[in-house]
Subunit: 139 residues, 2 copies
Amino acid sequence: MTRKRSTPEAQGRYAYEGLDRALHEKARLSVMVSLSTRSDGLLFGELKELCALTDGNLSRHLDVLREEKLVEVWKGFSGRRPQTLVRLTAEGRERFLRYLGELQKLLEDTRRAQQAAEAAGAAVKRPERPDLDFSFRPA
Amino acid sequence: MTRKRSTPEAQGRYAYEGLDRALHEKARLSVMVSLSTRSDGLLFGELKELCALTDGNLSRHLDVLREEKLVEVWKGFSGRRPQTLVRLTAEGRERFLRYLGELQKLLEDTRRAQQAAEAAGAAVKRPERPDLDFSFRPA
């Protein structure tokens, strides 16, 4: 056990375990935000456009979201034309809200840090750690 | 051209291109938040603890961040013990702030959607799209 400077509060303080990997991936996050704006669902083509994704990419990410039971996919026809409707499940909405709560926490952590830095003045030019009796050189 | 319902505003509306992939990855995001709280840098061991990462994982992610010129790594000694100090570069701080701005935008988009949904009452039980003359069944 060599962690002398360790404190219980420090362990995982900025780990953000709530950043659910199924939701955090950029394209899926984009899909989830789009769907959260329409409780009655979005057509595949509409989603593609809102998220700026290709057919293949959107399909692949919808498969992941469906496996996780975050979205449901409905098939139907508009006249003779097959259509796909996608919407959030109740579980999807709930998990997404928890995810957003974690993002909010992250933003508050950085905001607090930024205010502290501004209060302390300009950025230091070289590493200064008065608590350590050694000097650093770039790796 | 078959996108009849397309509008110029819809294209990429929720794509969040500003979610920089170098920063958006969960472990690297955790490292960036940690470093943003300490302008004088953090020791490797401190970072490991704040982010709840293993040595190998942290090294790998620091390599990515260093290649992107987002962080700088300093080597030094504390007595005879080698130490590694990591801190944000000016560019890293700037790119991270832009990234945080995009997250803020995402949160505002979802908040607006949530308020609209609450105003409209409870969630619909089945897909209802009065603008479409067809019925859906689960895929």
